[in-house]
Amino acid sequence: MAEKIYVLIDHANNRPRNSSLEALAMGQKMASETGMEIHGLILGADLGSVTEQLSRYELASIIVVENPSLREYNPDMYVHALAEILASDRPNLFLLAHTYQAIDLAPRLAARLRTALITDCIGYKTGDGSISFVRQMFRSKLNADVTVKSNHPWLVSLQAGAASADTLRPGNAPTVARPIDLSAVASRRQTIETIEATKGKVDLTRAEIIVGVGRGIKKQDNLPILQELADALGAEIGASRPVVDNEWLGRERQIGSSGQTVTPKLYVACGISGAIQHIVGMKNSGCIVAINSDPNAPIFNVANYGIVGDVLEVVPALTKKIKQERAT
């Protein structure tokens, strides 16, 4: 029997999520390098439209698990269904996007199967017949190659942007319906409501220039220094998560995975070290300037221009220079 890669496809509003398509692209690459078969795996109810969209990619099959109990994500139902399929099919690898849902689902699934889970990977390396997974550690400051000693399947979750959905190879994938009986499974966790938190919010997605404020400004009293730069540039103020958690700025200004995703033409990151949760929200900005006191801060890996220095010294100098330029 051929060795297999399964890729879990998450979906919303009858479309596969982009993060899942990225995982699928990574799976296709691994499959072509290793000779393994790649299969898409999709759970839910009324999946006709999503399945049809997935069938246009080069896959050995799309395994469609339709059941009314799977309509909305629920850990008890999803873990039960996936554990049953993975335990019987025994693929070598099970890939999924490292989303908030994956954080809720994948560790429980791995523990049920007593197998390895490597979370939040940004890539992989092969050599000597072995594979290692690349992931960030220590608040994204270091990278690690992680090797696995475990029976299959290995569960691997992939960070957003680990592969590009644009590289997906088109094809014509057959669909395989996979019935599952969940009548004996009790769902212990009930969803009471789903809420959008940032009412009356500031729409940073339309801003042309954003001054991003991080913990490096040290205290709330220093905010006017950043506001002056924003005023000089005609920019909006955005914030990293710690700044919002400290209540120096409102949550409506948070940029990153739990806040807004922005693509201004200029992003000036002031005292932001560049945790991945922030990076995913601003990395596609046209031009990124980073000012930070730590020369190894990961923000410099996504910036176009970097300045190592104290934000509280560099920013006032920058504001002054821009005002001079604007006056001439």
Partner: protein, 260 residues
């Protein structure tokens, strides 16, 4: 209510890391350590629940002797006692191994809630709490921003963070495991009285062998190499005093990037 809080010790937040000569771990010798950020918020939530409903807050840590210092800090914040599962030789690296020794230890205890941090600041796997729930057969919720317990009804309600500014409120029966997100409240200060009281509080040590877990039989994740990321997309670094660098920057933003 009886609440266990899983507490991990990690290098301090502002550490500038150096890789060890073997290239597979950090140089730990000169680092300072502290309670993992999310775990400290988990403890804060537990203490708030205790203020409301009474009961006991117990710390559960896997680590070396060094971790006792972080546990004392947790006891000074108000936890009643602690259990340290000793791992002097850093054998317990994989989340499933850590969750397994915790689960075996907890099977001998009673509890209404287990709170853990969503993610650690060292490995950052974001797995242990959820695995613990599975190994103990308990319901769970992750990335929790708010906790509301109902001890009479034996139910707990949690507000979960989701992508892009959305939240989800979920309810489950107790006992349950919740993994707590950082930054959801204000961490209390430790008072001198608290620090003094902490010295007399019990930290019970459990040897790894006592848990009965055969770690070698469990799936293992091993770090084969640790290194500074080279993204190949490094920023052009501007050098000089503040006046010089900002002059260079403004020039480049106007003429190269053409964004101002």
């Amino acid at each position: 209510m009886k609440i266990f809080v899983c507490l991990k010790e990690v290098p301090s937040r502002d550490t500038r890391y150096e890789v060890s000569p073997q290239g597979d771990w950090i140089k730990e010798a000169d680092l300072s350590f502290e309670i993992n950020e999310c775990d400290e918020y988990a403890l804060e939530e537990a203490l708030k629940l205790q203020e409301k409903f009474g009961g006991e807050v117990i710390l559960l840590t896997v680590g070396s002797e060094r971790a006792e210092k972080s546990m004392r800090k947790g006891l000074a914040m108000g936890a009643d006692r602690g259990i340290l599962i000793e791992d002097p030789n850093r054998q317990l690296i994989s989340p499933l191994a850590i969750a397994s020794v915790m689960a075996e230890t907890l099977k001998k205890e009673q509890y209404d809630l287990i709170l853990a941090g969503t993610q650690s600041d060292d490995y950052g796997y974001a797995q242990t709490g959820v695995m613990l729930a599975e190994l103990l057969g308990l319901p769970h919720a992750t990335i929790v921003m708010e906790v509301a317990a109902d001890p009479q009804g034996a139910k707990v309600t949690a507000l979960r963070e989701m992508e892009s500014g959305w939240f989800q409120r979920v309810q489950m029966p107790m006992p349950a495991v919740l993994t707590i997100q950082a930054g959801i409240s204000h961490i209390r200060f430790t008072s001198l009285k608290g620090i003094m009281a902490a010295k007399r509080k019990e930290i019970r040590k459990v040897r790894l062998e006592e848990t009965g877990v055969d770690v070698s039989a469990l799936p293992a994740l091993e770090v084969s190499r640790l290194y500074l990321p080279d993204t190949g997309k490094k920023a052009e670094m501007l050098q000089g005093d503040p006046e010089t660098v900002v002059a260079q920057l403004v020039d480049k933003l106007r003429k190269e990037a053409r964004v101002i």
